[in-house]
Symmetry: C2
Subunit: 202 residues, 2 copies
């Protein structure tokens, strides 16, 4: 059975077709139609009838610092291969946004981070993306490139490669981090702590 390697950059796109047999002509959900009971066009597969409800995607990441130095990763993948970014990526199922930000720091820079607070919520409606960027601390300065990074580094503010930043939101988040270095209470609420169980016997 022929197999297509799935490019990392395509993993969270509109979908990817994996040939099922050399005879098949895989198409996937490519027909736009409004399902009965719905009020918007959706992508439907005319082979199997699957309706692909597309939803905005969440990117989770962090501005993570060791003392006065900020972790940046030079991208090994498109888009913006070769340029510098924050450790960030698509949120996976069954994790929290903070867990996702920690996972991305590990995957991209082998960095262990502690989340401080939610620094920014950025939106790119053109590509239906919402980014949640945390302020975080590195638990150690030991970092090294993961498979999606060419190199990683810890940069003092005036060492940041401002001319080689991968995305506008990276600029925004770095500026916001700098502006709010001395602020502590600026986050929206998050899940409250679960109620402690009642004492035994009550």
């Amino acid at each position: 059975m022929p197999r297509l390697a799935v490019p990392l950059a395509a993993r969270h796109g509109l979908g990817h077709i994996m040939p099922m047999s050399s005879e098949s002509s895989p198409r996937g959900p490519i027909a736009r139609m409004i399902p009965e009971g719905d009020d918007r066009q959706r992508l439907v597969c005319t082979d199997c009838g699957f309706i692909n409800y597309e939803n905005p995607k969440i990117v989770v990441g962090s501005v993570a610092a060791w003392e006065d130095r900020i972790l940046l990763c030079r991208r090994a993948i498109e888009p913006s291969r070769g340029l510098w970014t924050l450790p960030a990526g698509y949120m996976e199922l069954n994790e929290t946004t903070a867990e996702g930000a920690k996972r991305e720091a590990w995957e991209e820079a082998r960095a262990r981070i502690e989340i401080d607070c939610l620094l920014a919520v950025y939106e790119i409606p053109r590509i239906s993306q919402v980014q949640l960027i945390y302020r975080a601390r590195l638990r150690s300065p030991d970092v090294e490139p993961g498979p999606e990074s060419l190199e990683v580094g810890l940069f003092r503010w005036d060492e940041i490669p401002w001319d080689s930043i991968a995305f506008p939101t990276v600029h925004w988040a770095l500026d916001e981090y700098d502006k709010r270095r001395r602020e502590h209470e600026f986050s929206p609420a998050t899940n409250p702590e679960p109620e402690p169980p009642p004492p035994v016997g009550l």
Copy 2:
């Protein structure tokens, strides 16, 4: 061609299968396998080869007030049909989270709202859901039920039907709203204003 009505509550679930012909036996992406180049199991359709990358979903909503009264909607759909909730729902493609919160207020309560600030980010990793709840003001007290609401109402704090609230996050958001009534600066950053265009001639 037989057609299935798509229940509103299922519109943003894992997907829904629409029969393509009376002879077909639609299955959709139901086989769990790890695509080459990936590191996680994904749902693959063995008919057409489509890989359904599932991502967490974003719910957008608001605690929207007219003077000292808060807008609540009694749900006409499952889950929690008959119970009271905030105007909130799944974010759609190509909108911002604030636009989504406004749209939901209109769809569920025919309410026009103005967004004040991001009140809370709640997470339900068990069902891979992230909720962004805004603090908002109603532009008028004229509200009426949309198709997903049995009734809507504006409640003073001590009139809220606390015993008939649809979801824990509604409780949390109402409590947070009350706690922060007098605070103004507690939001993470959002997209900066676009740069103004340079004066003509420069």
